[in-house]
Amino acid sequence: MVKILDDEILLSIQNISKKFPGTQALDNVSFKVKKGEVHALVGENGAGKSTLVNIIAGVVHKDLGHLIFNGKEVNIQSVQQAKRVGIKVVFQELSLVPNLSVAENIYGSSYNMESIQIMNLNSIDEKAKDLIQKFNINPKKTVKELGIAEQQIVEIAGALVNNCSLIIFDEPSASLTVSEIEILFDMIKLLKKNGLTVIYISHKIEEIFQICDRVTILKDGKYIDTKEIKNTNEREIVNLMVGRELKNMFPERGESGKKLLLSVKNINGNKFKNISFELYSGEILGFTGLTGAGRTELLRAVFGIDPFQSGEIRIKGKKVNLNNPYESMKNGIGFLPEDRKQDGVFLDMDIKENIIVANLKANSNTITMNRKKSEKNTIDMVKKIGIKIGNIYDKAISLSGGNQQKLLIARWLLADPQILIVDEPTRGIDVGAKQEVYFILRDLANHGIGIIFISSELLEILGLADRVIAMYHGKITGDLPIEKITEEKIGELIMGL
């Protein structure tokens, strides 16, 4: 390994440990971040990345260890202090004030409050101005009018005003579209050109390989390794993260059944036009497309959440009128929504209650609930799906994102569906859990269930689907079996070419 000289180092993390009640979040973690590099920080959920970042940002206090910044030891006790030292964190939940203008936000983040006078372009620091102009952001616009990518730029501009030397991004691409991610990367390259150092946390390993110079892997609160990006590959990183050989990210495909489960003919809605497709038992049908292509709107209409204007839906040949989710459920359809926290999990209810809700009948006597049945069914599902829990009476909020997603799958499995629609099921969950979800879905398909799988991740579609439907601006642009699909082909179809 190349020896790193002391004056090349911006931040030296030494023997940091942090304990929370019930868990050792960080255990003697040490590594170095070089000046001017883009340094990735990866690890599964619970690996300690967020805790480490929170310590550096001053949100949380470390128990043990040292932080050496620019050659000097720093004791960061607050966010303000971190800012003064020159460290800025762009959290997933941005810290901008939505009702104030871009200029006011940039100025407001300066700890030098005396200078708030004239809110116009001229009074913003040169570096920030550069950034704003380069990305065509109007400084008079209020923040809430901006898209997320633009908001991130405003946050960074605010950091530049304060002479930051280190910017940490915590899962910045989680809610960005493909083109917005490009903007993000351009921004990071610009920062690098201006001599700033970047720490980049992400679940998306492909991104790391696009934008970063080195990567540090954490696992279970411990430091595993640091690698030069050019000397490693995705598979090695994933294996280090997960701690085991993730031999197959995707399961083997199964036999698609011949039974026609769902037939959608010429349906029209607000965001989709003249849609027709079929779903057979035992297959995973992937729906791909850009954000706004209409996939979610289409499948929500199929499930009866939103109405559609014309066309018909048949289940196993029989025409059905699905006017609400209840009727869809009666016809054997299940639906896992895109936003599991808002639309899926009952966070302050326990695991058992979350699992039985889609099939209360099977867990009750005629009028009253049946505790024994509920408990047995819950435990069966938890075992079958493989959810890591302590106790079925723990609250759902205590589960990790990946386990919450598995919880929702267990819920629908208990409802015994023939058709299961899953919308972006692996969003925001780590690599190990993703693999588990893929295997679970394939297993369900092998038992005869027809699965409609909406995803914006090309790799997922290519790896998991038996057949792919691409949408663009509300229309189907392609409906092909997986053998006829390549990455380029999907790229064309989702762009309407």
Binding site: G344, L360, T368, N391, Y393
Partner: protein, 319 residues
């Protein structure tokens, strides 16, 4: 993976147990402090009137579990009493008068439901508006004058005892028994908890939150009407200005009993116990000759303590 030890369910039962202990504690303390307290006469005095409030609080609890409020109950109690009086004044038969009263309660509930569910108003604002409107109607149609001329058969509804206990009390116990059982164990009412916990998610698993919410508002309206008839019968008077502010006390009692303004939590037993605690406090002050002006201090303290207790248990669960 450990097998079910459902200690969280126990925590809720713990709260009800704790409240029960508080009630016993207050009763013991008061009995010591005053010879007048622990007497049948006193019990009679309390339960004759306040039992009907227990009926109203059941409706309020159901709505809190669903995640919505009803601030119009006090006005509803007054209006139903007054309208029933109007029917009697115009020589309609008792069944018609009573059924009209119940129907009125349902209609008030329906209007609340329409505002909150169909127009998607915040329940606080919608029912606050109804509170003013319904009160105004009651005062308007009576010009502020109470009605006293109730026939004997109407007064007899709430008169008398069953098994030595006042009729209103027995009615409450029966209704309470049925509702407490079904809300705790029933499949139908289980759905309310899901709606209160996450309205959007509930709809996506086939629970029609709009339908249920509207139903609960109508239920609450009917409970209010029912209570009003008993109260009017007992007091032999329909007073258009009566029961102002009662909704706040009932909501406070329900929260002390474990309900949350965010929805998804609550228990009938807890609410009744909370109500008993508030009633005992009132009663205690009367008996101990403490000015009723200080009542607010005590109720406010109890409410805040209950809320703090809630926060602490919630934080503990999050670990």
């Amino acid at each position: 993976m450990k097998n079910s030890s459902y200690f969280i369910n126990k925590l809720i039962k713990q709260r009800e147990f704790a409240l029960f202990m508080v009630v016993i504690g207050i009763i013991i303390i008061l009995s010591i402090l005053s010879p007048y307290f622990f007497s049948y006469f006193n019990f009679l005095a309390i339960s004759e009137m306040d039992s009907a409030k227990g009926i109203v609080i059941i409706g309020i609890t159901l709505l809190l579990i669903t995640g919505v409020l009803d601030l119009s109950v006090g006005s509803g109690l007054a209006l139903v009493g007054v309208v029933t009086g109007w029917f009697f004044a115009n020589h309609y038969s008792m069944p018609i008068a009573i059924i009209s009263g119940l129907l009125l309660g349902a209609i008030i509930g329906l209007i609340n439901a329409f505002l909150v569910v169909k127009l998607q108003m915040h329940s606080f604002i919608a029912t606050l508006g109804m509170m003013y409107m319904v009160r105004s109607v009651a005062l308007g149609i009576t010009s502020g004058n109470p009605f006293y001329d109730f026939p004997k058969e109407f007064i007899n509804i709430s008169k008398g005892e069953i098994w030595g206990l006042p009729k209103p009390f027995i009615i409450l116990v029966i209704i309470f028994g049925i509702m407490a059982f079904f809300v705790d164990k029933g499949r139908f009412f289980k759905k309310l908890f899901y709606i209160g916990s996450n309205n959007r998610a509930a709809n996506l698993v086939g629970i029609d939150s709009k339908k249920f919410t509207m139903l609960m508002y109508v239920f609450a309206g009917i409970f209010v009407a029912f209570a009003s008839i008993i109260l009017t019968s007992k007091s032999r008077a329909a007073i258009p200005a009566a029961y102002v502010g009662i909704e706040m006390k009932l909501i406070a009692a329900a929260i002390i009993g474990g309900a949350s303004l965010n929805g998804g939590k609550g228990s009938i037993l807890g609410s009744i116990l909370g109500l008993i605690i508030l009633i005992l406090i009132s009663n205690a002050m009367t008996i101990l000759n403490i000015s009723i002006y200080w009542e607010g201090v005590i109720i406010g303290t109890v409410l805040v303590l209950a809320a703090i207790f809630d926060e602490l248990t919630r934080k503990k669960l999050k670990t």
